[in-house]
Structure formats: structure tokens, C-alpha cells
Amino acid sequence: MHFCVDRIAFRDALQRVEMAIDRKPTRPILGGVLVQAQDDALILLATDLEIAVRYRIGDVQVEQSGWAVLPGKELVEVVKDVESETVSVQLQAEGRCRLEAGEDQCELVTMESSVGSDLDLKSLFPEVPVLPDQASAAVDKATFLQMVSSTRFATSRVQDSRFATEGVLFELNGSEMTLVGTDGRRLACIRREALETSGDKQRSVLLPKVLDQILRFGQDEAVEELQIYFLDSQVGFRIGNLESFGRVLDGEFPNYDNVIPKSTKHLIRAHREGLTKKLRLASHLTQDASSVVRLQISEDSMEVSAEHEGRGRASGSLEVDYGGNGITAQFNPNYLLDGLKVAHGEQVELHMEEASRPAKFVLGEDFTYVVMPLTHFP
């Protein structure tokens, strides 16, 4: 294998696959990046068996085709730090790989390579599916990334023994896509139309890591469309040259529809930024570990207040659009702020039944966020 590649393109490509390099590999090969050079293109692939990322760089000057698995962390860092326009990579004998970048040079020990190995690549590196031509769904990239960022934050940080709530539920029904994230105390649900679908009904719980990956790097790909592939036990995303795969979480996802309140007794419309400011103000005076803010809603105004035993109290009020006879409820301000951060419009709606029942925020078109209030019992 011998090729010459633009350093910036190579560095960016390596950064995209970096997330899939296993930090504490159970098998040494999982800590490596597979570099394949053929037909004027370079394909990088890394996997930790949870997620896999494949990235293709075109227009590469390939002198000799071949492949090598190089130590991932070292390769990423070295290419980041060498100073030159291009990098030339050449496999040497005795399992060495030489990187030349202007004045800088580096020799990496290959984990496996096409030189001096009779074994097939398939038996050495975990197999990552090749995406078929026909996708399960094609969606507008910006729309999908917005859907992901609107739900990903609400997922559970700890593993629940009963539900797979550490992942995001992805439902495909006709051309309607639904993403749901929840940790049992708040739930974000967003619905959008796909551009094109294969018509099958799909329902899987996606690993948050793969979503983080496409959220971070999807934006940079110069394409408008994102393809989604439902494979056996994986879901694949293709955004231009980037292909990300994530394991589907087994385990049940709770029936989210039962959680979303259907009726409304109190409807409050508030300015998103105003509410955020007041919440942030009050949250400075909540107890460290457990924060509680009180929303006291009376006709046309909402008072947001919090009290820290021993430090003091803070409150602020803002104008709201409300016609009822008042309600007071308590919330974790972080939950509310998280939701407001990803809200789409300038206006948010709050639907409430009673102070101890889940409150529904409408943060955009077909974007609901349900938060369980905190109840003080005598």
C-alpha cells in the first residue's frame, strides 16, 4: 500500500472515525483504524463493536493499493500534528508503515496489513456491512439532525433495569418519522416527514453514541440528504462520504404515547428567551444537588422563584399569555432549561392539568417535551 493524500482531508477523515476507535479494546484490533487504498480513493474504518464509522476520501493519489490496520489513537494524533500540505503513507516490510509529511516523519507498527499476510481481511477485522443502494428512508439532513438534537439530551444517563431508555427511539411509519428520548422524568418527542421511504414499518432504539457522531460531523458533509438503513441488528446512516453504524439496543422502550398528556386545563404561552432568563436567575439559588424552582402562574404573569436554605432566595417574573385562574407547580430548572435550549421557535407553550401531573411543553411544530413536576408532600 502506498498513497499520497491531502493532510487536512486525511486529518478530518480520521477525526470522524476517531469516535469509533475503542479506548479500552477487548481485542487489540479494535483499537486500530483500517486504512484501505484502492481506485484513487481512501477508505477509513473503525469500530468498537457498538458503533462503526466508515469514511471515504476521494481523489487520492494511490501508487499501490492495499490495506493496513494502524494503531488508531497514534495515527489520529500524528496526522493532527505533522506540518505539511500532503502526507505520504507507505507500507514497509516487517509490519511497519511509514508516514512522510514534509520534514516530519513517523513510523507506525501495523496491527495487520496486506503485506506479508495471507489471511483475508474479513477474518482479521470485524465486518461492517456495506450499505445497499436502496435506503430504508431518505430524509432532509438538517431536519434529521434537528430531530436528533431535540431528543438526544433527554435520554437516561444511567442504565434502567426495565427499559432501554439510554437510547433514542426511532419509529418509522409510512413517511412519518418519530424520535423519542426519555429518562423517566422528562420526555422529548418529535415528529417529521421523510422525503422518501421504502414503506416498511420500523421501530428501533438507537444507541446515543452513533447519534452523537452524526450530530457532530453530519453538518460538515456537503450534502442535503441523509439516508437511513435498517439492517439486522444495526442502523446505518449515510451522509455523503460518511457512513455511521450503531447497534440497536435490545430491551423494551416504554409506551411513550401514554405519557404525553392529552387534555389541557391551563395553557400558558411564554417567550422562550424571557423564560430561560428567569429560570437561570432562579436556578442560581437552588440547592446544589437537588434543584427546585417554583413557577407561580397567575393571570398574564409568571413568577419564577427558588430558595436555598442558608443562601437566600431569588425570583423574577415575566409576562405570559394565560387566561386561567392560576396554578403553581415546581420543576427541576435544569430539565426546563435543557428543553428551552433546543426549542425551535421564539414562543413556547406550556400545557398543564394540575400541579402534580406531567406538564407538556410544546417547543415547536410537532415537538413536545413532557416534564414530571416535583411535588412537595406534607
Binding site: L187, E252, N255, Q287, S290, L374, T375, P378
Partner: protein, 469 residues
């Protein structure tokens, strides 16, 4: 130093000498439990009385009257031994709630004289009287007034130690017991402590005491005069502080409840009157211990994140297991299942169980929050709050949850395995099942404890929505 700052506002009226001098009062109720029992039942006066459990139930002496103490009986002594020492001993089973009420009444009196009152136990506390002279006069007079007031209004005897710091005031009150007062004048601390035996100093336990005797240090005066490097070598850093304290120096502030750091953990444990292997009994006990621990937790407005279960077998082998909860809680129902699971994992030996305990730690302030999946928990939590109020008003056992109802029955106080199984008479129940909403099949035979309906029923059941999907 801290309390000096606190009274800085008054310093303008005080002379320099007074400013430097703190006045700390240590207050200790004499034979408190017995004294309360004597108020309720005057016939106990003048007789050797102890409060505690029955000797056949492994009871220990919780408190002994001075008449009983003259027989060599002291608290924490096994009741059986106490009865041997004094055959005429009158034993009274304790009334915790009564003592709690009496204690509250006493501390209400103390709070009239200064806001800086630190209650260290049910019958003991410190008062910082620094700067109250203008209001109430000399500290000695205040001490005497408090003693008289408590005696006249509550018929309880107090011993009071008065000194310039906490440490000396405590030694002084121990010195003045029973029913007395001792005032250590400023500057006299060292000479007051000097002739006393070293074990009179709080903080010197049996091990340190033995060690000091090894070096022929018997009196506090000797300890105070011992070279610092010597004590440092023998006792480490503890040695130096011990020497300082032996000469009557101490600047620990009196911390009223609102300034004291919150409890780090809340625990309850119980040694059974008879060792048991009855799982239904252990389960019920676990629930009962958990209920009382969470009740204290809720009383302080705290939530817990860590749960520890402790088990001691008849051969004194002890085991503990703990786990962290994903979200902080103060709700019995959310803690019981994990606690039971810990117990199940731990109780693997085929040995009788002697003690069961539960501890809640990693406490934090906050409100309990329910999750979406168990909407019924909200109702349950409300119920738990109401039960707390009922118990506050009418006593801990005034209302019981289903799982612990059987504990009220004497038949269920850990079965004696050697005795033939008791026959359960029908129709004679400790509580009318109707009150608890049971009625039908409420008190089933022991082999099916799981079938008992409980107030927290439905906890184990799958939530309705999951069955639908």
C-alpha cells in the same frame, strides 16, 4: 472562636475581660428515662427502677435509677445480669414517645435563655450564655433558675456544669451529678481538672485509658504536665489535643441545630429477641426498619441515594451490602424492592439471623420526584406523608402497612423454632382487618406471606401500559 464572633454585636457593652470569656452551660437530666416514668407513675419513687426490655428478650438496661445504680447496675448492662444483681429491681418497658415529649419540653425551657442551644442527645445539651448577662444576670443565677424551672414545671431533675468552654462544662456537670450544679470560675479550669482521673475527660476511651495507665498517667494534672513530644510519639496527633484538653482548653463552638451540618446517614437496626430464619418475618422486619428510617429522612426533608442492608447471624458473623440508587428518593416503595434484593443476595448461609439493619446514606435536600412509568407511586407517596402525620400524632404503631401488620402480633415475634408451631386461632386478630381494607383472607397462614395485601400493593405489578403493549 466562632461563638465570639456571633456575639460581636454585644461587645460594645462588655468589658474586655468579659469579651474573652465564654460562658457555656452543660445541662444533663438525671436518670432521665426513669425520672419520666416516675412522673407518670409516682409509685416508682424511691425504688430501684430500670427501663429496658425483658431479660428473656435479650433486653438491656437503657436507664437506671440512682437506687439501682447503688447495686452496680448501669446502662447498657444486659437485663438478666441486672436482675441477678438486684432481685427487687422494678423493670419498666420504655416509652420512647413519652421521653421525646419530655425532652422537647425541657429544651423549650432552655431556649428561653439563649438561642444558642445544642442538643447532643435526648437528655443532654449545651447552652452558650455568652452575652446574656444584660438580659438575665449572672450565668450562675441563670443556671439555678433553669434548674428550678425544670424541676417545678416538669418535675425533672437537672445537673448543670458551668464553665468557660464546652469540655470543662461537661466534666463539671458529671462532677456535680446527681441533681447539682458546679461552676468552674474563669482561670480555674486547669486546677479543677487536675486532680480528676484521666477517664473523666471526654474523648478518652478504654484503650487510651489503659495506655495512659501503662505510663502511670492517672490524673489529668499529670497528663497536662506531660511533655508534648512524648504524647505525640505515643498517641500521634491525638496526643497533643489530649494534652491541651487536659489543661482545660477547648474552643469547640456550641452549635445550634440550624448551624450543625446535616446527618450523613440515617440508620436503624434491631436485634431480635430470638434468632430466626423465617423469611416472612425478616421481610416484615425489613419493611418496618425501612419505614422508620425513611420517616426520619422525610422528617428532615432529605432524600437518599445509597442503601445499605446489614445482617448479623447467630454466630456473630456480620455482612453488609449496599447499592446506589439511580435517582434520590425518600419513598419506601422505591427502596423496599432493592433492600429485599440485597437481603436475598446476602442471606445465603443456613444460619439463624440475629440482627437486621438498614442504613440510608448520601443524603441530600430536595423533593421526591416520581417517574412516568409508575403513576400510582405519586398516590402512594402522598399516602406515606399522611401516615407520617398519623404516626407523629398517635404513635409509631398506631397505623401499620400490610407487610408489617403481623409484627404487631405476639405470635410473630420471631418464632421459636424449637417450640411446636403455634396453631393460629381464627377470628382473633390484633387489628381488625376491616380497618386496613383487607377483610377477605387478610391473615393467611404463615406459609404464604406474599399473599398478604399491602397498602403499597401494586408495586410489584407491571404497570398497566406495559401490559397493553
Amino acid at each position: 472562636m466562632k461563638s465570639l464572633k456571633k456575639t460581636a454585636g454585644l461587645s460594645a457593652w462588655q468589658s474586655q475581660g468579659e469579651q474573652d470569656r465564654r460562658t457555656v452551660l452543660h445541662v444533663d437530666l438525671d436518670a432521665f428515662f426513669v425520672a419520666v416514668e416516675r412522673v407518670v407513675n409516682p409509685s416508682l419513687r424511691g425504688r430501684p427502677v430500670v427501663v429496658g426490655g425483658a431479660p428473656e428478650e435479650r433486653g438491656v438496661v437503657a436507664a437506671a435509677s440512682y437506687e439501682a445504680r447503688s447495686f452496680g447496675i448501669h446502662s447498657a448492662m444486659p437485663m438478666a445480669q441486672a436482675v441477678r444483681l438486684c432481685p427487687d429491681l422494678v423493670r419498666v418497658r420504655g416509652h420512647r414517645q413519652l421521653y421525646g415529649r419530655a425532652s422537647k419540653a425541657v429544651f423549650r425551657v432552655l431556649h428561653q435563655y439563649t438561642p444558642v442551644v445544642e442538643q447532643v442527645s435526648i437528655d443532654e445539651g449545651y447552652l452558650d450564655l455568652t452575652g446574656t448577662q444584660l438580659l438575665f444576670g449572672q450565668a450562675v443565677d441563670v443556671a439555678e433558675r433553669i434548674r428550678r424551672e425544670v424541676h417545678e414545671r416538669l418535675r425533672l431533675d437537672l445537673t448543670v456544669g458551668l464553665a468557660g468552654n464546652r469540655l470543662v462544662s461537661k466534666v463539671a456537670s458529671a462532677f456535680a451529678k446527681p441533681c447539682g450544679m458546679f461552676d468552674v470560675r474563669p482561670g480555674q479550669e486547669a486546677s479543677f481538672l487536675s486532680p480528676l482521673p484521666v477517664k473523666a475527660l471526654p474523648g478518652i476511651g478504654p484503650v487510651t485509658h489503659r495506655r495512659l495507665l501503662d505510663f502511670n498517667i492517672e490524673r489529668l494534672g499529670t497528663l497536662a504536665a506531660t511533655e508534648a513530644w512524648f504524647l505525640q510519639d505515643v498517641f500521634g496527633s491525638h496526643g497533643n489535643s489530649m494534652r491541651r484538653r487536659a489543661s482545660g482548653k477547648d474552643d469547640t463552638p456550641v452549635c445550634p441545630a440550624w448551624e450543625r451540618p446535616k446527618a450523613k446517614s440515617i440508620g436503624h437496626e434491631q436485634t431480635f429477641s430470638r434468632d430466626t430464619e423465617d423469611h416472612a418475618f425478616l421481610r416484615a422486619k425489613l419493611q418496618e426498619l425501612l419505614e422508620s428510617a425513611t420517616r426520619r429522612l422525610r422528617g428532615q426533608g432529605l432524600l437518599t441515594r445509597r442503601l445499605t442492608v446489614k445482617l448479623r447471624y447467630a454466630d456473630f458473623v456480620s455482612e453488609t451490602r449496599d447499592l446506589s440508587l439511580p435517582v434520590p428518593t425518600d419513598h419506601d416503595a422505591e427502596l423496599f424492592e432493592p433492600a429485599l434484593e440485597l437481603l436475598r443476595r446476602m442471606a445465603t448461609r443456613r444460619t439463624l439471623v440475629r440482627l437486621l439493619g438498614i442504613r440510608l446514606s448520601q443524603l441530600q435536600r430536595g423533593y421526591w420526584q416520581s417517574d412516568f412509568w409508575n403513576p400510582e407511586r405519586n398516590q402512594e407517596r402522598r399516602l406515606v406523608g399522611i401516615l407520617d402525620q398519623l404516626r407523629e400524632k398517635y404513635g409509631t404503631t398506631s397505623v401499620r402497612t400490610g407487610a408489617t401488620v403481623k409484627l404487631a402480633s405476639s405470635r410473630f415475634t420471631s418464632p421459636n423454632l424449637l417450640a411446636p408451631p403455634p396453631s393460629i386461632p381464627s377470628g382473633k386478630f390484633p387489628l381488625n382487618p376491616k380497618f386496613l381494607g383487607g377483610g377477605r383472607g387478610f391473615f393467611r397462614p404463615r406459609q404464604k406471606p406474599d399473599a398478604l395485601p399491602s397498602l403499597t400493593q401494586g408495586r410489584n405489578a407491571e404497570p398497566a401500559w406495559s401490559q397493553a403493549s
